[in-house]
């Protein structure tokens, strides 16, 4: 009799795992760059290619670097949230416009609103590679010393901002 119970027992164990798995995102991979200095870069500015901005320009400030592209659907999903974050004025958002056409990116910002303090053009994607980006959108928090303190993979949503990112931003701003 009990032999015929084996299949359902096995299934119950599987269900337990699946249920736990639902609460986790397999895409979140801890970045080896956490705690390390953010990669140096000097990139042209979107809309004014003659201007260059470097990572070093932000020493002494806490900044959020957001990797995006107009081709990326996840970026569209997080755009409203980014606008809301920008409106709080807690942290400047630097856009890293990744593998995109300037024209498309500008149209995007024009149509959907611009949460970024500045947007840097990374056409070939080299800076993104140095950041260890493997898909947009990804967002990095960088402290006053220029170290990466946090990486957020995928579209940011409001709760993630208030519960995960904002406390880190405040903490980093208070540190000297």
């Amino acid at each position: 009799m009990w032999r015929s119970l084996i299949p359902i027992a096995v299934f119950a164990v599987l269900v337990w795992f699946f249920n736990r798995g639902l609460g986790m995102d397999p895409r979140i991979i801890p970045s080896p760059l956490i705690g390390k200095p953010a990669p140096e870069f000097s990139l042209p500015v979107l809309g004014d290619r003659s201007r260059q901005v470097a990572m070093a320009d932000y020493r002494g400030q806490v900044v959020m670097v957001n990797v995006w592209g107009s081709w990326c659907s996840g970026c569209r999903a997080e755009h409203q949230t980014l606008l809301a974050i920008a409106a709080t004025g807690e942290v400047p958002i630097i856009g890293l416009n990744w593998k995109d056409e300037d024209r498309d990116a500008e149209k995007w910002l024009h149509d959907l609103g611009n949460p970024y303090q500045v947007n840097l053009v990374d056409v070939e994607g080299r800076t993104a590679i140095n950041f260890g980006v493997y898909g947009a959108p990804e967002t990095f928090l960088i402290d006053k010393q220029g170290n990466i303190i946090h990486k957020f993979t995928g579209p940011i949503y409001w709760q993630a901002w208030t519960e995960e990112l904002l406390p880190l931003v405040r903490q980093a701003k208070e540190a000297t």
Binding site: V15, F18, G21, L22, G23, P30
Partner: protein, 656 residues
Amino acid sequence: MIPELGQFALIVALILSVVQGVVPLVGAQTGNRAWVRLAWPAVSGQAVFVFLSFACLVWSFLQNDFSVAYVANNSNSALPTLYRVSATWGAHEGSMLLWVVMLAFWGVAVAARSKHLPEMFAARVIAVLGLISFGFMLFTLMTSNPFDRLIPAAFDGRDLNPLLQDPALAIHPPMLYMGYVGFAVAFSFAIAAMLEGKMDAAWSRWARPWTTIAWVFLTLGIALGSWWAYYELGWGGWWFWDPVENASFMPWLAGTALIHSLAVTEKRGLFKSWTLLLAISAFSLSLLGTFLVRSGVLVSVHAFATDPERGRFILAFLVTVIGGALALYAWRAPLLKSDEGFGKVSKETFLLANNVLLIIALLVVLLGTLFPLFMDAMGGGKYSVGPQYFAAVFVIPTIPLVLLMGFGMHSIWRRDNFSRIARRLRVPMAAAIVLGVALPWMLYGRPSVMTAIGFTAGLWVIGTALFDPVGGLLDKSRKVRVTRGTWGMIVAHFGIGIFILGVTATESYSIHRDQALRIGESIEVSGYKVTFESLKPATGPNFTATEASFVITRNGEHVVSLNPQKRTYRVQRNPMTEAGIDGSLARDLYVALGEPLGGEAWSMRFQYKPLVRLIWLGCIFMGLGGLIAISDKRYRVVVKKENKASGREALAGGTS
């Protein structure tokens, strides 16, 4: 208006599926004939409304109705008409609707052929199908409604994923779903048998053609997907052991085991509870695949919008359907006794070995697929299981499987002895070993143990499959009547042999070179000289491309010109690789463009793939075998009393 009609039709179908799922079931339990007779109008009504709903979605795509969010996300006014139709099932919402359509189709098919079945039994089968339909339609309407409006409407759509803009991928999902969903029929047969508490030879005879046809669709669907991946992804591989591929392969393995176990249950009345468990498993694994793919618990190259909300719903559905079925199994299976035994060496033993080995293979795939999830859930960190694991472990059960296959085909029921079979098969055995070692050596050089095993195994299966038909041709005096069922078995096993040869040669003797080339330069690969001739822009309806021209020569003689493209689709912007392939049975030559490296140089990949076409050709033979098997006339005979035909033996020792 049309999208609202579609949604309304789906809601009506949902209500009818409740009728279909509940009334005949209650009628059958209580013996209420009038209620039982409601099964047919309910299932056909449900199907009509499901088809109507689906037609509305196709219509919205054809009309470029970008006020429908799903259409706006997955189509574009420049998209060719064929792909506008196939875009209907190009993403999550529409593919769920396609799933429901298939289920309705199978429901009607079973009902239409239910004259063969006792009325109460047919009512139960149709009711179970109705309950499954209900779950899927509820899921579609609640979490994945393809008819949701987009306000304001988009000016133009965001286009179908360029990877899916391909003829093979247009028909791959319908084929695959016909297979997945087709196993719902075997599942419903199993539930109905457990509810009745009765399972006899007639039951197996009814279940067999339904199982086989679902398996045929699944086989061809998987083969199409593999073929597509080969020429469209630009890597030249034919199988990647990606979770989504595994999700389709696991039901296939369970279905294959089920087909063989059903043979024993029909002919000998053995393995009854095991057959039931396999019938439950084949469909459960189809559902499990859906869960894995759509819930986002695993990382896959297949881009389905994942959403934990949907995941919770499917998990709840899974628990209801599979959990319910297994609970019923736990309660009823002990009642099913097999009273006959069988000899240590007999067809029964071989089929048992077949089942055990197939299930081991299934567990190997399941474990590899779910391992990252297991580790993550237990806090063990992030893992990914690569193709190396699967390639290394999968052959452990499958090598004995194919070796035993040859003996199994020629064994007889009840009692046999091994030396009789071995003596009978000494010619194909010797030929397989000699040719298996010699052929790869002569054709490709570089022999190894694995290629010798692979070739021997493939030739052994081919030789033993063709042994009787060829013997019959050579010796006219041996009049053997071969049933269609046996013919089907022969053709399908022949397909397995062809497939094994293809896999072995491709995996062992493929050559690939990645190299940067400028226009005018050439490389030499295994006797072929590949020259990069020119580069020119090209345009399609919704993409622009860079098209290269390669001329391939061998010993100074022109072989072929290939024109691979690197495409950029206007809306979605991601680059796509269209490989240039020169195909023949003996070998494929494959050129894919990589990235521009500045100047006139491009990185490119050249591949030489011997016998790679046999992989898909083998699958076609397997499918063909299945079709021949179900055309056997004993499935068409209307059975008056269910126990009349039990225990009758097939001629020529066929398993089918």
